[in-house]
């Protein structure tokens, strides 16, 4: 069974992602320490809270995350977890991110209701993306966010979603993957995304 660590960086609901990963056959556990990341097959950066506080709480772990990825261990960022993987964010000031992807996290345009809450569609640009295997184009997935990633050239955008602006809803650079939506809250489609990730970890 693959062992997946869910990084606890402060607040919110980590049970649903843990339960989702267990449902698709992984051994998932929550950890808030560097020691907890020892001997894991993959890491999930979940999506709750505000960028500034999250990145502060992650400070001790950022080096370990980088070496795990360098060693080929898959990493999945979800929602805020996706945003933390970028260069920097403008949420509540200016905060430097983990820098796995090049781009800036900015607020959704004010012409739409913020936060973007609810089910929206995936426009799949790269059907070959590991996470998107057997996910039909136009599938609905669940979003809850106020900021999005403005990616720089060279970042692989595997799927996009439109809400006031066209933004990346899946990005990847193997072995790092990230979704702006919550697969653990996206019903059967979301569970399939998690299963695809677990299968990739198991490969």
């Amino acid at each position: 069974m693959v062992r997946i660590a869910i990084v606890d960086y402060g607040v919110g609901n980590l049970k649903s992602i843990r339960n989702g990963l267990r449902k698709v056959g992984a051994e998932a556990f929550v950890t808030g320490s560097v020691e907890g990341l020892k001997d894991v097959d993959a890491v999930v950066l979940p999506g709750v809270g505000a960028f500034g506080e999250a990145i502060r709480n992650l400070a001790d772990m950022s080096g370990v995350l980088r070496s795990l990825v360098d060693a080929g261990r898959p990493l999945l960022g979800i929602c805020l977890g996706l945003q933390l993987l970028f260069t920097a964010s403008t949420e509540g000031g200016f905060h430097r991110g983990l820098g796995f992807f090049r781009g800036l996290i900015v607020k959704l345009p004010s012409r739409v209701k913020i936060p973007h809450i609810g089910w929206n569609t995936l426009e799949i640009l790269n059907p070959g993306c590991v996470l998107l295997e057997d996910i039909p184009d136009g599938s609905y997935v669940y979003f809850v966010h106020s900021y999005y990633a403005k990616v720089e050239e060279g970042v692989n955008v595997d799927a996009e979603t439109v809400y006031g602006v066209r933004f990346p809803s899946v990005v990847s650079k193997e072995p790092v993957f990230a979704t702006q939506f919550h697969p653990e809250r996206s019903g059967k489609v979301g569970l399939r995304v998690l299963e695809n990730f677990v299968n990739y970890v198991r490969r």
Binding site: V11, G12, N13, L14, K15, S16, N19, G20, K23, V48, G49, A50, K113, I114, P115, H116, I117, G118, W119, N120, T121, Y140, Y142, V144, H145, S146, V162, Y163, H182, E184, R185, S186, G187, K188, G190, L191
Partner: protein, 270 residues
């Protein structure tokens, strides 16, 4: 495109689902986890659990329920009813709920909205507002109240707390705006005039609210058929519709309602 959401609501008492008419005369309607799964299979977009237990041991029962639901349900769910403090909010969220809805506690201490949304994020703080129309005479405009012309006459909307039992004498439209300023991520609006009547939602209230606030509005109370839900989501401008009775007693499935909405041009997840 962002879909409009259909949200079955499960009133829970001592760990069992009940549904009353006008918040009174409760009838037992099943096991919450089983019902939750049934709605998930039918295509519900979210679920709301409203705990109406008033007993001393309620907190533990509720947390158990949230944990059990979280293990099997892979769509978002909100928990409300009797949530009073930031620590209540934290325990419900960490048991696996995605959002909490607060009503009486928010009216009595609006700062809780600010504190909770700062700590946990606006997206998980739903402010629930129970309202009732107060009709006024042609020449009357009470101070501090937003009076509107409706099909049934001139009125303003009063806020009620304690499960619809106690009027506050506070304008609901202004309260909604304040709640959003303080950090509410969504508003769940229930009309006591319409609750349990199956006559349709208070469309005039919903339309005015969606004109005024920038966060998603969940319409509640009054759905008797799919047409009422369609009206709330189109004319009323609501982003989601919450309903209980029409689903609980098997009158319509969530999927039937969604198909009806899709036929009428409303984007839904099917």
């Amino acid at each position: 495109m962002l879909a409009k959401r259909i949200i079955p609501c499960l009133d829970v008492k001592k760990g069992r689902v009940v549904k009353g008419v006008g918040f009174k005369g409760l009838r037992d309607a099943g096991d919450p986890v089983e019902l939750a799964l049934a709605y998930y299979e039918q295509g519900a977009d979210e679920l709301v659990f409203l705990d109406i237990t008033a007993s001393y041991e309620r907190r533990r029962t509720l947390i158990d329920l949230v944990e059990r639901v979280s293990e099997v349900l892979f769509i978002p769910f909100t928990v409300g009813g009797g949530i009073r403090t930031v620590s209540d909010i934290r325990s419900v969220l960490s048991a696996g709920a995605d959002k909490v809805s607060i009503n009486t506690a928010a009216v009595k201490n609006p700062a809780i909205i600010e504190e909770a949304s700062r700590r946990f994020g606006s997206q998980c703080i739903v402010v629930s507002i129970d309202v009732k129309r107060v009709y006024v005479a042609e020449d009357e405009t009470p101070a501090g109240k937003e009076v509107l012309e409706t099909r049934r006459g001139r009125c303003w909307w009063d806020v009620y707390i304690y499960g619809g039992r106690q009027p506050v004498g506070m304008d609901a439209l202004r309260w909604a705006e304040r709640a959003v300023e303080l950090g509410a991520g969504e508003l769940l609006v229930s009309s006591l005039d319409f609750d349990g009547t199956k006559q349709g939602y208070d469309i005039e209230l919903l339309r005015e609210l969606s004109r005024r606030v920038s966060v998603p509005i969940i319409a509640s109370s009054g759905a008797g058929n799919p047409r009422h839900i369609l009206e709330a989501l189109t004319v009323g401008g609501a982003d989601a519709a919450l309903a209980a009775s029409i689903f609980h007693y098997g009158q319509y499935t969530v999927e039937e309602v969604k198909r009806y909405l899709a036929e009428h041009g409303v984007p839904v997840r099917l």
